[in-house]
Symmetry: D2
Subunit: 364 residues, 4 copies
């Protein structure tokens, strides 16, 4: 599988750069018969679109998606779905002063080392705009999962030192940060205002909860569901840690506390706790899947920074232009998209795990 | 790629169960010309072998590896290297009382859901013995990397609440826990003794530092080096979180602190700090790569636990048999092996990133 | 790897349907530094473009390609290259009478069986227009291979019963069939005129010769270079057989005749014959690679045919519309494109076969 | 996917050399619940075992297979099945005179070019013994397919110029060549006796017919079922051409003859002919799948041949030792095995092609 593709059975290939003509994705392996139009995808893209609050870059992009293939008379055909979003507000002049600098915290230096070459217009393929392809593809996965009763709840868990203290889903759309806690959102706003005043930036945590996933997804050993999720989430730029279930807290716990017991309720197997975050031995257990993505502070800041140019000259760099003081809120939908892609792929991969079910499938 | 394979160019496929005849691995894509014999692999396997301290299971296994193919006159041939370790001390009688129970914290229930079937003799494919294949393959990767000047320093960073306060590599082999801090190791021993007395178990953190990795490994977007490492590490049973560089601490930092500046030293590009952990934009930057694996407490404990049988009967389960009160020390070499496999694969995948280097390669 | 992708290191994903908005390809894994513009690709596309002689469909398509990503200042960046060709002359009305029929020799029935659904406008994804993505991607591969001194000579070897009796490359562009034999081309024209008069169609053979391929490409066992080529060529619609070197004739030969001896010429190893077609044990031997694709007669004919509708009604079908009486000439560039993709991928995959060369590569 | 693996969902990785300790295969992705023991596999291996007639090498190998993992209490567990066959009669002394020669028609030269190194004991990984892994894995696939009502009829279609003139399955096991025509088998024997007297060798054709394959397997474009079969078959050493259905004859036919009409019989869709060989547009149509593998004459012959040593000395080589004058009969089961692996993988890959069927699968 090539570097720009994700997934085995439900596979997405993304392309495009921050300051090129367009960005897009090809979704391959989507089953035939799913109702799909551009609005389904646009809803997801709008959640990551810039320019929606004072805490995001002022770059103006409608990020309108066009479906170029794979849908006929309102339904998917089983053939690859090609999606395109044209760039509009490229304004590459903004990046003039950084064209030959290695911006700290960015991939400028490493791209130059790898390719002997760098798209100096603003990150190119390593820009956050790259996530448009992920989100567009994830929207299709999420729509498909909804048909199977699988739903996502994704939100900002913390910004800098400010964490949520409750989880009220209805509050998520009511603040600039997609936080399920209005009071925490207020404090996060204050913290960010202070960061912006200091020409600095902040990080934070995105949490994602997935309900309705059937037990049995994921494979033992290398194809564990949590391993696939970890790759999916860590592949998002700026993510520096991934947790499943109790995550880092589990290391401080003891077996007797951390183990989830089993019981019977209404004739169904239930777990008496969910420290595992819905995955046991790499396989979904039917319970809520919980994961967290830890995101570093936005690297583009206006404060002067020590760096060098690609000619090796030492430089004191100030980055102007349009940058988010925190990318966490816009990363919420990206985390959800990557989780949706991963779960969909696992669902399809799992269909051949038992001979009896294969016989059932083909004997009809 | 199938569920039991890892890697694209340097690929390992593992097989075998805890209580089967044998376990093993097939390493495919190892270049011709590497000096290799069984001792190279045995050194790694001995680091995870049970029965070496009072803190590990008493199961007696020599874990002697045999090379079945791919090596001729002491050198690799470029063809697949098949490795086998025979099981000796299977003693499946030990598992009698848990044959029909879903052990809390184990994969019993999820395997049953996935396969309609479970190897009740002690975890089967989800047992920690599965890691033999990983470690054997990782030993080959590590030997190959050594030829390129790439080295690993891997150790226990914490057990339960006891963390190291310094990093003295020479102390690692001198305690039962592979801790680079003798005093922390003493405290960890006390903590574990208490756990064992309480019939309970502990978790902890493994840290891995990789030096000598050239800049340029890893790909933008889905094939980021940190994403591949996250998958590799999270695929190890009992790992619940993965961090790269500053990891979770980065979310509390600010851009001005978290960004690593660049400078020039002895005519070379250097970073003035390494919060990123050696990876920028998913591509290695030539600096030390740092990662941490967070490991949950051993699920097998002797304390009674509430669970059910596969017939749906509620049960109060006590697990006897031979279990590690903490698996962190034995996981050290597993983390190192998975990191070595990942780096090797990235090294090979990177060779075609630039046309000028491809022309050089083939023009000789 | 998903169904619409080809290649491991140099990978192409194609998308698009005959009567949709557009068709295209994403080329991933192209190294940085290759000079590339749209003209390089257009030259290839023009070789398969319809409407260029009386023997091809009259559908009017300029098939103008646009590069959307992966090229900056005239050079490839190492990031995915997205290519798009808009459909213009869709005229789906032409297909009205066949919308509900299973056309003999087409994929209508099998698509319906697989997807429960069919794009009745003219083949959709199974149309010959699908090859636009292959050819556009192959043009990039061919340009890259040229830098390494690898060249292709591809032509029509036969149409129906008319075969070439000599190989004069300079005659290839001078006839409607890309035949390297002007006299055979005349006879092929007569044969096709007769077929058209009878409202019938013809098949034929495409031959491809590849020079300059270094010895060593391809892997033992499943990744043999001839196996990869066979897949590449057989994946072209209408191909029913693939030969390498002497191919089917080899079965009638004897070992003493079919074996290629070795000798020394100008201090280089040479083969004294090339029955093998440049591949031994699945690995290139440095000699000319020779392959042949056998193509069935165009299935769309105006003669009445017995078939059924998707409602199960028996029908006598006459297909009108715009169809090629033979697709062989337009398949020439498709065969070349698929061969170029395969060789490029093998070149990159081969770079890690020897430790000494890896050490050289990274020690610079 | 690595060079020594085949298949995506039902994947086999093979390993081992002709003169090493053992050969084997790891089958990954086999569903849980298939009854399997060593006898099931041995039956297949016995069909390719040497020393069974005067027309095969006299090398004595029992080729006894041992199952090392993945089967518990007589049934597959869903985990990887590791298979091993120990080499016994290695007698590498036989190969003394060819240790430094590049044998014509063999992979000696190309291995040396690729790996800088060659296992001179008799082909190593490029020996026909490599097929043991394929056949062992294919036996499992074939057993699984039988549960779904899919069966294989594979036989020798021709040896040198001697072809079958009828297809009587019951005659296949009654002659040394697996020919379904006793009279042709007699003539083939005479032809081979003459070849052996002349110290020469012969080639031939294997034909495989697969019944019971449901319509819908295979994917459009690159994952066509015939493309996967072509790769599978061409990856067998000594195969130089692959045909599907009418194959090369199709190029001489016309559309009106070559198209398969549709009709209705007993309320089922039927084709009125099967020129396509059961595959339309790369997707199975429910009819018998027919393919042919064209196999070159055995390259090891006792007649003197011109070649060079790896030191570049010109040499007149006579190959002694134990060689088959024709490998076609022993290749019959190898072709069947590769076809079975391909069909099984396509069956599993196809399960997610339609949303309605996915909903059915998971809604139970």
């Amino acid at each position: 599988m090539s570097q720009s593709s994700f997934g085995r059975k439900f596979a997405v290939t993304t392309w495009g750069e921050s300051h090129g003509k367009a960005l897009g994705a090809v979704v391959d392996g989507c089953p035939a018969g799913l109702s799909l139009d551009e609005k389904d995808i646009q809803i997801f893209l709008n959640r990551r679109r810039p320019g929606q609050s004072r805490y995001t870059t002022a770059r103006q992009e409608g990020d309108q998606v066009e479906i170029l293939s794979g849908v006929f008379e309102g339904k998917t055909t089983g053939c690859p779905i090609s999606l395109i979003v044209r760039n509009k507000d490229q304004r590459s002049g903004d990046y003039g002063n950084i064209a030959f600098s290695y911006r700290p915290g960015h991939a400028d230096y490493t791209f130059d080392q790898k390719y002997g070459f760098r798209d100096y217009r603003g990150g190119g393929r390593s820009s956050g705009r790259e996530t448009i392809g992920r989100v567009a593809a994830g929207a299709i996965a999420a729509k498909l999962l909804k048909e199977l009763g699988i739903s996502f709840l994704t939100y900002t868990h913390s910004i800098g030192p400010v964490s949520i203290s409750h989880l009220h889903p209805e509050e998520i759309p009511n603040n600039d940060f997609y936080m399920p806690d209005a009071s925490a959102a207020d404090k996060a706003g204050e913290y960010l205002n202070q960061c912006m005043k200091e020409k600095d930036s902040a990080g934070g945590i995105v949490e994602c909860r997935i309900n309705g996933v059937p037990a049995g997804l994921g494979d033992p050993v290398f194809g564990k569901l949590d391993a696939e999720l970890a790759k999916a989430i860590m592949s998002i730029g700026a993510v520096k840690a991934v947790e499943i279930g109790d995550g880092i807290q589990a290391t401080l716990s003891k077996g007797s506390k951390n183990n989830d017991g089993f019981s019977i309720k209404n004739n169904c197997v239930v777990k008496t706790s969910n420290h595992s975050g819905g995955i046991m031995g790499g396989i979904s257990d039917g319970d809520e899947i919980i994961l967290r993505a830890h995101i570093k502070p936005t690297p583009s800041i206006s404060l002067p920074q020590n760096t060098i140019t690609n000619a090796g000259e030492i430089q004191n760099l100030e980055i102007y232009g349009r940058h988010d003081p925190v990318i966490v809120p816009r990363a919420v939908v990206v985390v959800e998209a990557m989780a949706a892609l991963t779960i969909t792929d696992a669902l399809f991969s799992n269909m051949s795990s038992r001979l009896d079910r294969i016989l059932d499938f083909y004997k009809k």
